[in-house]
């Protein structure tokens, strides 16, 4: 056994976690338990599963103090942020419980037997069913909301699947406590052993993805780690879906009208969005298009002044700190950006102040469009919208694009919307992409390399990732799920082509 260590980024001090890396037998036992749990979990009615999700939310809130304390020591994130993240995770479990109760996510469809244009057709009934044990990889930057207790776990459980989490090496103790909170609440609720599992260590993570009992993988992290996991999946005998949320530059465009009318407000908002959580958010606007000329100059000066006056913020770990420094230098030396504000390291070696770079739109290439995880923005100055459109083509596809415009600028707004629609998964107007709302409509996804999927990882529709369709043809009622039997049901259904709301 290898005992793992954790590091407090506020001090740089490492300590023994008392957690052993999970060995091969351990991973196999955990996935076997998950497979056994699946056989039982899928038999429970929706109301049972909604109750489980609510019990998990309650358990997390009861354990809030211990969980936040662990995360403080392992991430250096502000306490208010961590409390908010825990609340968000609990909210997410409850929202998904509501969705399970409501039942629309089942996509239930009934085609009764009958004469069709092609002759007699059999009775066909279809709905979505859970796929099986799901592996979830926690992210470094969200110890709660995209980790053990995060959206992938909630959506896989909501779908009816057991979950095995691979704990992120940056917050092992937080992960362990989170897992214990969930599994104790699940056991108290009566969920089968194996409903939740956790493995520790890189080797165990690789083994988990390769394990034949695992039927899907949810991942939030870097493109490079994503490629490694995809490579493991490519070697499997049975391919499985890999849902990776990978990399995003999140372009933000400010029209001349917006720059002139809301100079200080946008300067403040942009700065806050770039530097919130020390810029370690997948939706951080990494590149901001600002018009040339006086209004643009004033906006840039506002951002620069804020950055120059900023205190150092603690980054999550030394790897992120090192990559940030390297990428910033590349953006200048290879990308051709000018440094407007250079960051200063804080005293502890894990912290730094924000960086602001600038480049002319005509000079934008892929070399200046690399994601720098941390408090950094590249300001792109443009003289005409055509320059923005061209430069956007050099920016990798992203989770979001943001457009700031004035109400009367309908033509520009329409053109810019057209320009970004194919490039991203969410378009934000006169706001900021950070602070992703957990709701029914949210889409946290986007074309490659933002993700490798046609699904979101945040919001209710994230559940769809862990379901597959199953159809029953001419089935006697005794073998049909209750949601597909004739008569009144508590879920919306499409019956003979016509959508019907749930009865009563």
């Amino acid at each position: 056994m290898t005992t793992l260590t954790t590091t407090d980024p506020r001090t740089g001090a490492s300590s023994d976690t008392g957690i052993d890396a999970t060995d091969a037998d351990g991973v196999a036992a955990i996935t076997a338990a998950a497979a056994s749990a699946f056989a039982e979990l899928r038999r429970h009615p929706r109301a049972w599963r909604a109750g489980l999700l609510r019990a998990l939310a309650d358990g997390l809130e009861a354990d809030r103090a211990a969980l936040v304390e662990a995360a403080l020591a392992e991430t250096g994130l502000p306490e208010a942020r961590l409390n908010g993240e825990l609340s968000r995770s609990a909210f997410q479990f409850r929202l998904f419980a509501d969705a399970v109760d409501e039942g629309g996510y089942l996509e239930a469809i009934i085609d009764h037997a009958g004469q069709t244009a092609l002759g007699p057709g059999p009775d066909v009934r279809r709905m979505l069913v859970p796929i099986g044990p799901v592996a979830v990889f926690g992210a470094s930057n969200f110890p709660f909301a995209f980790s053990v207790i995060g959206g992938d776990t909630a959506s896989a459980l909501a779908a009816g699947n057991p979950v095995v989490v691979k704990a992120h090496s940056s917050h092992l103790v937080t992960s362990q406590r989170s897992y214990e909170s969930l599994s104790q609440a699940a056991a108290a609720y009566g969920a089968p052993a194996g409903t939740l599992g956790i493995v520790y260590g890189q080797q165990a993570g690789a083994q988990l993805v390769a394990d034949p009992r695992i039927t899907a993988v949810g991942f939030t992290g870097s493109l490079s780690t994503g490629r490694i996991l995809q490579g493991i999946i490519d070697e499997r005998e049975t391919p499985i879906p890999f849902y990776g949320e990978l990399s995003s530059l999140n372009p933000l465009v400010i029209t001349p009208g917006a720059a002139a009318q809301r100079t200080a407000a946008i300067g403040e908002g942009l700065y806050a969005s770039v530097t919130g959580s020390a810029g370690q958010l997948c939706t951080k606007p990494g590149v901001a298009f600002v018009p040339a000329g006086a209004e643009g100059d004033a906006l840039v000066a506002d951002v620069v002044a804020r950055a120059q006056g900023a205190a150092a913020q603690t980054l999550l770990n030394s790897r992120i700190h090192g990559a940030f420094d390297e990428i910033r230098v590349r953006l200048i030396e290879e990308g051709g950006a000018r440094s407007l504000v250079a960051p200063h390291a804080g005293e502890d070696g894990f912290s730094l102040t924000p960086a602001v770079l600038e480049i002319d739109a005509a000079a934008v290439t892929a070399a200046v469009a690399e994601e720098a995880f941390g408090p950094l923005v590249v300001i792109v100055r443009y003289a005409a919208l055509d320059e923005v459109r061209r430069a956007l083509q050099a920016v990798p596809h992203s989770l979001t694009a943001t457009l700031h415009s004035e109400p009367e600028e309908t033509g520009v707004r329409g053109d810019l919307t057209d320009a970004v629609e194919d490039l991203v998964g969410r378009i934000v107007y006169n706001g900021y992409p950070t602070g992703v709302r957990v709701s029914w409509a949210m889409n946290h996804g986007g074309p490659w390399p933002a993700t490798n999927t046609q699904h979101t990882s945040v919001g209710v529709t994230a559940i769809r990732r862990f379901l597959r369709p199953l159809a029953w043809q001419d089935a006697p009622a005794d073998v049909l799920p209750v949601e597909l039997r004739d008569g009144a049901v508590d879920v919306p259904r499409r019956v003979d082509g016509v959508l019907e709301l749930a009865s009563a």
Copy 2:
């Protein structure tokens, strides 16, 4: 240029098609035209697109005689079957037009701005949008319904995407005429050039999948070709979804009660399902579980008698014929099956009579569970249901499973349903899996190796494969799609968590 030949399987005679293999420049020009068409297609309202689909259906029916004539000479399939397949393809375009009109496939969701448990939330609106040019690979066994005019083409177009088809080498002339029928109807309707494209030749198919403008691939064919295409995708800079319908053995289980009560009827139905279209259907029941004892013996004798008296049927091509012979020998020599009826080749070298094999359930291994494309069934004799359950684990996951039982056998039926639920995408009761209904609820999919996706390739929900979600946050009405604006709309939507039907 390489001019391609086609072969009439009824005579074995090859002839020049006058069609050249598409060269590299040709493929690039076709995908470039598709990309241009996409920019225009996605701007059209749903009603326009529904009209296009209906125009395509009308065009196909107007060209029926020429299309069926071409397919007769290239596939050797019966004329009635080909006419039915063409009708089915036209029906499919019209059904998808209805789905586009209805608009539920957009999955429109609106979350209004407001106070939430986590603080104020922005306005978020989400729906599905088309992904871009789609490559479609036609299948050998359905010159219409799973080829140029088939379900992949219809669902990609319904979603709003242009389509480039790779013509199947077995029916090049049919493919060319089908493409001309569609593209003439599309042009007459006013669709942009590039809405439909076609390429010929294996090299062109490989280039198509590798082309950066292609955003998804739909494929129906063999596991081995599917693996080759997936390999090409793995080498792409930008990964794209590959929707492959690959391989299926379709186990069919007959309970003791059903064997006793419906001996002749099941013998007749099973035989017809195994030998229809010369057994060249992806849903053909390749393995049938029949009870040991007198009733089972009578049922087997019925099937054997039918097979012994059968005339030779023409197979689609010599490759299928050769593979059939090889696999049948392997099932006996390596799988341990007994030959009850050996096939005889017809006079022309492309035709043969059906084959019936038998094995005891206890002896079933993966070696006897290989798909033999053609008129062959492996009958598995079992003494107890536990033997069926165990043997099913050796059968690869399939598109379908079929259960024949008597009304009073509820326990057995429930146990068998449990046993197959994880293994397949559709469960058929007291019927046969061949003859897939094209409807809203149909699921033609299943766990690997049946497919590599969580979606169907037949039925209305097949459209989902070629869509991705996009969200608009705090968007002014002028940039929102009409389906997401406030007020009355003609599509169902989920608004603030509550599903609402379309307003009148």
